[in-house]
Symmetry: C3
Subunit: 109 residues, 3 copies
């Protein structure tokens, strides 16, 4: 068994979980926050049998989309002209960042 | 060392943590949500020395109980007779789902 | 790649994440709770290339400090004199507890 940990965007989480459950996968969801943008996102972890790993990765790719987020950093204290020009930065955010980890023992009690 | 990750029911979490601490285990708790029932549950993770893994699994078995949860799925739009019959489903929920993962390095700073 | 999971104190989390991002690390933050003190803390996880593991551990050591927390346990029902003496316990809390775990596959979609 592997533990598949996927950080996904909040907007994709519900559809992804629904698709996972429909296909017999079991998963747990955590509310998380991106270290850079400091916006809420979702971390899903699922213990998955080895033979179904490619299937779940495919499912995640299907349900999770890349987006662009606008970052408005705090402008540095410049001259009077400069402070009226907000610097907008386009930050690409992946559909999902997926980590596959080996599980030595899985016990259901 | 291993990282023991256990998804348990909210009602068992406090007693489990108390028992773990009493026995010298260290643990961290996260509020989580089940992917299927979408109800809150608790994810506990504990770095545990290899020789104490069986002990902590036994402790979790002792403190965490299987329950039955009633699931009332949204009824499909059927005829007038059918829509008055709610379909109740009995869903078994384990006391705990436990994943044991190898820790390559553990550092306390 | 390794998954670095660090349980840190809430007061250090923001500065640590800022430093990590400045240095090109990517991370996700979870709100967590200590099993013993039952106080909020922060769990950060970061997928990190093998060659940068020592660097991120050094960064965590730099930004996270040991503190002392005062624990006032519920006093047992003693005699009238005893109940007026609160038992204060000094509990040392590490800057960080770090678990380094191997990642078999990392996929960005
Ligand atoms: N140090 C840095 N320097 C320059 N640009 C940076 C950066 N850290 C993040 N970014 C950019 O900002 C986007 C959002 O990152 P955030 O940390 O808020 O939210 C991240 C984070 O929560 C998680 N994540 C990504 N890589 C991770 C990793 N290696 N370990 C743990 N979590 C990760 O997935 C979310 C989306 O990440 P994604 O890479 O697709 O998209 C990232 C990336 O395009
Ligand atoms: N392999 C795994 N990876 C990650 N987390 C895992 C996991 N297996 C279980 N969990 C976590 O433990 C909770 C209880 O699962 P359990 O399998 O005992 O009890 C489950 C099971 O009896 C049933 N169930 C869950 N997913 C199902 C599915 N895809 N098809 C049919 N029944 C499902 O509903 C109960 C509640 O599930 P829910 O998802 O709300 O909540 C789950 C989930 O949060
Ligand atoms: N092996 C592990 N696995 C998972 N998470 C871990 C861990 N070791 C530490 N942590 C996390 O880091 C926090 C700080 O732990 P630390 O050992 O530095 O500082 C601890 C320690 O000095 C003491 N303590 C914790 N558990 C104890 C126990 N069973 N017996 C005696 N003292 C304990 O109380 C402080 C606060 O503990 P608390 O549980 O509230 O909060 C813990 C917990 O959330």
């Amino acid at each position: 068994m592997k533990l598949v940990i996927a950080v996904v965007q909040d907007g994709d989480a519900a559809a992804l979980l629904e698709k996972m459950v429909e296909n017999g996968f079991r998963a747990t969801k955590l509310a998380s926050t991106g270290g850079f943008l400091k916006k809420g996102n979702t971390t899903i972890f699922a213990g998955v049998e080895n033979e179904r790993i490619q299937e779940i990765i495919h499912l995640i790719k299907e349900k999770c989309c890349v987006t662009q987020q606008i970052l408005t950093p705090i402008t540095s204290a410049g001259g009077p002209m400069e402070s009226y020009l907000p610097h907008l930065i386009d930050v690409p955010v992946s559909g999902a960042n997926i980590f596959v980890i080996d599980v030595e023992q899985y016990i259901k009690v």
